[in-house]
Amino acid sequence: MDGVIGFFADLGPNFQLLLDRSPQIIEGVRVTVLATVLGALLALLIAFVFGIAQLSKAAVVRWVARIFVEFFRGTSLVVQLFWLFFVLPQLPYPLGFRLDPLLVAVLALGLNYGAYAAEVVRGSINSVPKGQYEALSALSISPARGMVRVIIPQAWALMIPSLSNLWIQLLKGSAIVGSITLYDLFFQVEQVRDRTGTWFAYLFALLAYFLIAWVIVVIMNALEVRAKHSIGRGPALREAWRSLFRPPGGKTAEGGLA
């Protein structure tokens, strides 16, 4: 039975089925979380490298970074995934090699979302007040050291809300990795669907992704509170832990805009 009536009629057996399949479901969650976390770490690395490279004094470096960002931002994640998984192994030696599906997923997610995040990093660095750059210059601190010690710590606080959004998008974007034989959460839900009906299966999928996204929100809120506190805005994390559970984009603990 399917449809909304079937959903309620079969609620008991469906939960039983879910319980029976819990080892596979948990394995799916593990794969999704792994791809999401590793993909995000790669994306962060790429974002910093290419975000900062776009601010380089050398025009060549700026252009290479620009082309990279535009390419990976402008091409579809699914196509990138399929390229890495299906086309790459067919390329002539020495280019052709077959990669592990998880590695392909992490690479594609990292490259795609890293390109978006590079723009966030670049924008945040540009948003640090000009006076900070001038103070660095007045103290003869080299641009590289100033970037690490003064500019990035301030830009970091500015970029977290946007990075938080991107990370959640990356999580949801990861639901297509089943098509390259990586058995993630969504793939495992698909496996129970023909027995539980679409209502039950996809409602479960909604909830499961929402819960993972919520964990991401809490982690990023904590990072944001900490980063803001470190530049003298807002309370310390231990005083403001309640604000971690607010939705992104809400008000901060002291009432200012996040």
Partner: protein
């Protein structure tokens, strides 16, 4: 008394932003240990002069020499050559600047703000830099706040820390860019008092832009009146403030005093 050797020399300096000429063929020198105050209406190019010395702005034409060394451009074989960034940074190491908006680093404590450059630019040992910072903080009356963040300080306190931070680099030239303009009135006095002490106790050359005429009168050896990118008149503070010879100066002083 200030010596007569030029410490800072502007030769034929021109600065334009787009098509707008802010400084026009400017020539002047600041002697070693001399305190020179620039006064004049807003937009007359005073702050631009300080920013050129700090190399925060690029010269459009002419030359600035600091202690005999070219700062931004030099003349070689009859051609005007740009001084490379690294060499510019080395030369400007002798120059300290205090800004209107303090520009302390908000992610560092007061102590960290002060020791960052002495440790990583001058190569001082951490303990050495901290001892020196402590002494400077003591001088500006901020030692009790050395572990505070800039955001926990009032404007006047932040500016006093910024002064200590500039002095920690042992500058030979100190640029003061409207250092009290962003402060609440009751905090102006504490900052000016600190600067007056420093002026009295050291022989650092100073180039000052301020709207505090009494302060200018107290610390300056020479006052230069600017208007529209040129020097209208210059002289000892008593002369300029009591008996200005130029009509433009008289009008300006009547408006601000």
């Amino acid at each position: 008394m200030p010596e007569n050797t030029p410490h800072l020399e502007f030769r034929d300096v021109t600065k334009s932003f787009g098509g707008n000429t802010v400084l026009n063929d400017l020539n002047f020198t600041v002697g070693t240990g001399e305190r020179v105050t620039l006064i004049g209406p807003s937009g007359s190019g005073k702050t631009t002069i300080l920013r050129l010395v700090m190399t925060l702005e690029e010269l459009t034409g002419g030359y600035i020499d600091l202690g005999g060394n070219p700062l931004q451009y030099e003349e070689r074989g009859g051609r005007r050559m740009r001084v490379p960034d690294r060499q510019r940074r080395r030369t400007t190491q002798q120059v300290g600047m205090v800004f209107q908006h303090f520009n302390l680093f908000p992610n560092m404590t007061v102590m960290e703000n002060i020791v960052e450059a002495p440790i990583h630019v001058m190569g001082l040992k951490k303990a050495e830099a901290e001892a020196k910072a402590e002494a400077l903080l003591d001088k500006v009356g901020m030692a009790w706040k050395k572990d505070a963040r800039p955001s926990q300080l009032s404007g006047g306190q932040q500016q006093r820390v910024a002064i200590a931070r500039a002095l920690a680099m042992d500058p030979e030239v100190l640029l003061l860019d409207e250092v009290t303009s962003a402060l609440d009135p009751e905090q102006v006095g504490e900052v000016l008092a600190v600067l007056q002490d420093i002026a009295a106790e050291t022989d650092i050359s100073m180039l000052i832009v301020t709207h505090e005429m009494q302060f200018a009168r107290d610390v300056s050896d020479r006052v230069m009146m600017f208007d529209q990118g040129s020097i209208v008149e210059e002289g000892e503070p008593d002369k300029i403030f009591s008996d200005p010879s130029h009509q433009r100066t008289q009008d300006f002083l009547r408006a601000v005093l």
